[in-house]
């Protein structure tokens, strides 16, 4: 069902954990639907210097979280905002059709964390990050 890449990121998740003194935290999804992703960022000079995640969800939820953190670690916020769910899927060599929503969730989690970063600085994140819609997965 899953590609080797997905299994690798599921079995050996990168950047799993928390950052106690994170500069920003974003959480998306809900338990009722079966997946929650939480991302912690350290941001220095507009660059994401550290990132960690915690995920409640299926293997692809964990794998998409993991690879998303890898894809934006060390990147600038602007670059991180370019991350699309499509890029996540491609980086994992594909996801089953009914798991695509996990990649959407990963993209949203990154955006939610960045939004939190702006909000903490008193900046309205919406013009920058866009409206964060709950990932549609029903």
């Amino acid at each position: 069902m899953y590609t080797e890449k997905v299994m690798d990121h599921f079995l050996n998740p990168r950047n799993m954990g928390e950052i106690q003194d994170a500069d920003a935290v974003g959480e998306v999804g809900n338990a009722k639907c079966g997946d929650i992703m939480k991302m912690y960022l350290k941001i220095d000079n507009n660059v994401i210097t550290d990132i960690k995640f915690k995920t409640f969800g299926c293997a692809s939820a964990i794998a998409t979280s993991s690879i998303a953190t890898e894809m934006i670690k060390g990147k600038s916020i602007d670059e991180a905002l370019q991350l699309t769910n499509k890029a996540v899927v491609e980086a994992l060599d594909g996801l089953p059709a009914h798991k695509i929503h996990c990649s959407v969730l990963a993209e949203q989690a990154v955006k939610a964390a960045i939004a939190d970063y702006y909000r903490k600085q008193g900046i309205d994140p919406e013009p920058i990050v866009g409206k964060l819609t709950e990932a549609d997965h029903h």
């Binding site: 069902m1 599921f10 959480e27 338990a31 079966g34 929650i36 409640f56 299926c58 293997a59």
Partner: protein, 393 residues
Amino acid sequence: MKRFIYADNAATTKLSDTVLESMMPYLKEEFGNPSSLYELGSRAKTAIERSREQVADALGALPREIYFTSGGSESDNWAIFGAANAMRQKGKTHIISTKIEHHAVLHALEALEKQGFEVTYLDVPGDGIVRTEDFERAITDKTGFATIMYANNEIGTIQPIPEIGKICRDRGIIFHTDAVQAVGNLHINVKEQNIDLLSLSAHKFHGPKGVGALYIRSGVRIPNYIYGGAQERGRRAGTENTAGIVGLGTAITEAVASIDKKAEYLTKLRDYIIGGVLKNIQRSRLNGHPVKRLPGNINFSFEGIEGESLLLLLDQKGICASSGSACTSGSLDPSHVLLSIGLPHEIAHGSLRLTLGEDNTFEDADYILSVLPPIVQRLRDMSPLWEKIKNEN
């Protein structure tokens, strides 16, 4: 060497060696069409009739009440659409079932609702067992048919079939039971238990996949479901799957012969694992009734984690198990059965079903008990939900 523990016997079972052996001739030289006149054909026919007797014996039925099908789903569909058709002739339009039936029953009933039938889906209390009082209360003068599963496929709870059978017989209600999980595990006698229609599927008791049977009590008239040739005395068309049918006969005979021995052993093994899990994993919950459950059925929920991840990590350790959630089916909804017994969504997502077979040993149990707690812990460590749960207390 990687261990391999198959603990998903409710999903399917391994063909027993003797079953396969009994099938082989019909996959090789005994390939005749059972409807053919010549010897090669009539030998196949004879083999099928022998299997029909074996199935009848196992259920306390007559051979002419047994019809072979392609499996449990077809049997369920035939019984349900057939009975609906028969009751409509008598002006009845109401059907009683439960919320915890298999999808083969539920989706067939939904199709009937679209045709104008009214269906009452009985609630079950937290123990997962239908109450006969609820059943009786649901009966109206329009009720013509009831379908209640014998034992649940997820939480293994055993329903009060003889009692419901009696009520139905007294009230002139056609009674079907989906016994796919029960056959070979529980003692069934269709006559004593007043069952009119019963579905079974060979692959659940070490028989082959793609073959099952429907018991239709003589006197109960339902129309055909698959029309065509005169096979199965004109009631189910299609060239017979001789090898499969022979395998079904062998498997049911073997399974029924060992029910008591198997139940005793599996119950011990089951309760050993249940005890170990409850002791070693905090915030774990046994779903279903502690005693009125299939001997090999274990169903747990672990707060804060999700089932699919759990299964894949168990697979990494060589353990084949299943989850209450229907993830693989492309649906993201948690199990309708776990929701029916009152679990909140997020807990229903984190369930694990282990269904044991005769091949499982206490060594396997110890291995499962050693491997499972760290895996649950690992996923909880990853889970933002667990973080909250922990902090709440």
